[in-house]
């Protein structure tokens, strides 16, 4: 394939040299250099689709700290590399512009969101948990020891990891918060 200056690449000349005007002669330098972008990935993580419960395998390609492609993992005996439309849209799920990356705070009766840094937010939440727990602590109910609070409740989605659910249940239970529920019920 002709390289070098645009003159020598000029398809008309290449046609005169006998190349096909509808084939090789028409190729641009960019076309000649084309490769699948997954080849340039810095890393590939083996993951699992976050949508339904079939548990299809995913390959997550990362380049320069950005997800460049997510596609099916052919090794998975469950999905054999295939994905449904949602699974196929996973890259957009993690990169779409509508995704929030900042902590937001709405004060009581407030009409707008305010920015808040993560550490402050965490401290404020911890303060509220401790305060509410103390204020609503219930030692007994009808003479029976219950050692709990009905003042704090939690609702979890079913896209959380087992490890996450475990820490949640462990912490809530230790706090005495029993109104812990999950999408599984909904």
């Amino acid at each position: 394939m002709a390289r070098g200056g645009w003159i020598s690449r000029w398809p008309v000349l290449r046609q005169l040299r006998g190349e096909d005007g509808r084939g090789t002669a028409a190729r641009s330098a960019r076309t000649d250099a084309l490769r699948p972008r997954v080849e340039e990935a810095d890393s590939v993580a083996r993951s699992v689709c976050p949508y339904c419960a079939v548990g299809c395998g995913q390959l997550v390609y990362v380049k320069d700290g950005r997800v460049t492609q997510i596609e099916g993992d052919p090794d998975s005996p469950i999905s054999r590399g295939r994905l449904c439309p949602k699974g196929s849209a996973s890259k957009q799920l993690v990169t779409h512009p509508g995704r929030q990356t900042q902590v937001l705070y709405r004060r009581p009766h407030g009409t707008e969101w305010e920015r808040l840094d993560l550490e402050t937010a965490m401290d404020m939440i911890a303060d509220r948990v401790v305060r509410t727990r103390r204020e609503t602590w219930q030692q007994e109910d009808g003479g029976k020891v219950v050692r709990r609070t009905l003042g704090i409740a939690g609702l979890g989605g079913a896209t959380l990891d087992n490890e996450e659910n475990y820490l949640m249940k462990k912490l809530y239970t230790a706090l005495g918060a029993i109104q812990v529920e999950n999408q599984a019920r909904i």
Binding site: P11, D20, G21, R22, G23, T24, A25, A26, R27, S28, R30, T31, L34, R35, P36, R37, V38, E39, Q69, I70, E71, G72, G81, R82, L83, C84, P85, G87, S88, A89, K91, Q92
Partner: protein, 294 residues
């Protein structure tokens, strides 16, 4: 040229999930096609175009009475309660889904008419647009007998399926075929696919689906056969496909002949006009300077 690669889309196992549409867009960074509720069954992208390189068609077949034996759920009991419950309404006989795509014709009109060489035939015998070359003349758009390629508004260039040319260069199968959950979209050497398709169609017919037929598989058709062909369960036009497409450049020589004739006529007409009015008015002053051939 290496082995010719192609798509075989077996619509008899398509579940209309549209994974092909999404996987294609994710890989090729194709923009969305707008958010329009079309009320055409579950199809909201309408047709192939610059922003939709895979398109899933949904055809709801009303039952024709008497129920055709071969169709799923059409026989016996269901036909019964179908009629009972629907008070004359025939109800649903079947729901066809089909993932359409560029046909990568053997004789590709878009490629033939492209004046810049932006469209070219790859070593896989597929037809691809080079976005860095296309100048948006728009000629390929009306040239395609399938209405596949289109010019993208604002961008100004023409786009269509590349059969993931870049992926093929890396030995990967196209995104749509890889994602397809039921293997309705199969990718591979065209010859193998054609054999597989023949077997599949035979089997379906044996199982009582006489309406099963291949579309675009024959090298003898008007485009010399499609690089992406289909197994359909109804007439092509019900899927929005031309029943007997032909590459427009087949008639190009004839066109040039007629155009040549017209050109000569034009020349003749002018000559005649001048001859007929040769004996014109008094010679103009310029008349003194006679033509050099005198």
């Amino acid at each position: 040229m290496t082995e010719r690669m192609g798509f075989f889309t077996d619509t008899s196992v398509c579940i209309g999930c549209k994974a092909c549409e999404v996987a294609c867009k994710e890989w090729n960074d194709v923009p969305d096609d707008g958010f329009v509720f079309r009320a055409t069954s579950y199809d909201n992208t309408g047709s192939l175009g610059a922003n939709t390189w895979r398109h899933v068609a949904f055809i709801e077949q009303p039952r024709r009475t008497p129920p055709r034996e071969e169709w799923t759920g059409a026989e016996g009991g269901e036909g019964q309660d179908g009629r009972d419950g629907r008070e004359g309404h025939d109800g649903i006989e079947g729901w066809l889904m089909s993932s359409d795509v560029c046909k990568h014709c053997t004789h590709a009109a878009c490629l033939d008419v492209c004046p810049t060489g932006a469209l070219f035939r790859t070593e896989f015998d597929t037809v691809v647009v080079q976005a860095d070359v296309c100048n948006g003349c728009g000629y390929c758009v009306p040239a395609c007998p399938y209405g596949v390629i289109d010019r993208r508004e604002r961008d100004g260039r023409a786009f269509k399926c590349t059969m993931c040319y870049d992926r093929q260069l890396g030995g990967l199968e196209p995104a749509c075929a890889k994602a397809c959950p039921t293997d309705s979209i199969q990718f591979g050497p065209l010859d193998e696919l054609r054999v597989r398709a023949e077997e599949r169609v035979e089997r379906l017919r044996r199982e009582g689906r006489p309406e099963a037929r291949l579309y675009g598989a024959s090298p003898d058709d008007g485009v010399g056969g499609d690089g992406a062909f289909f197994l359909l369960l109804d007439e092509p036009e019900t899927y929005g496909l031309p029943p007997d497409p032909v590459v427009t450049t087949r008639d190009l020589p004839a066109m040039w002949r007629w155009a040549g004739g017209a050109a000569l006529s034009l020349a003749g007409a002018v000559t005649v006009s001048f001859l007929s009015t040769r004996r014109g008015p008094v010679p103009s002053p310029a008349g003194a300077r006679r033509g050099w051939w005198r």
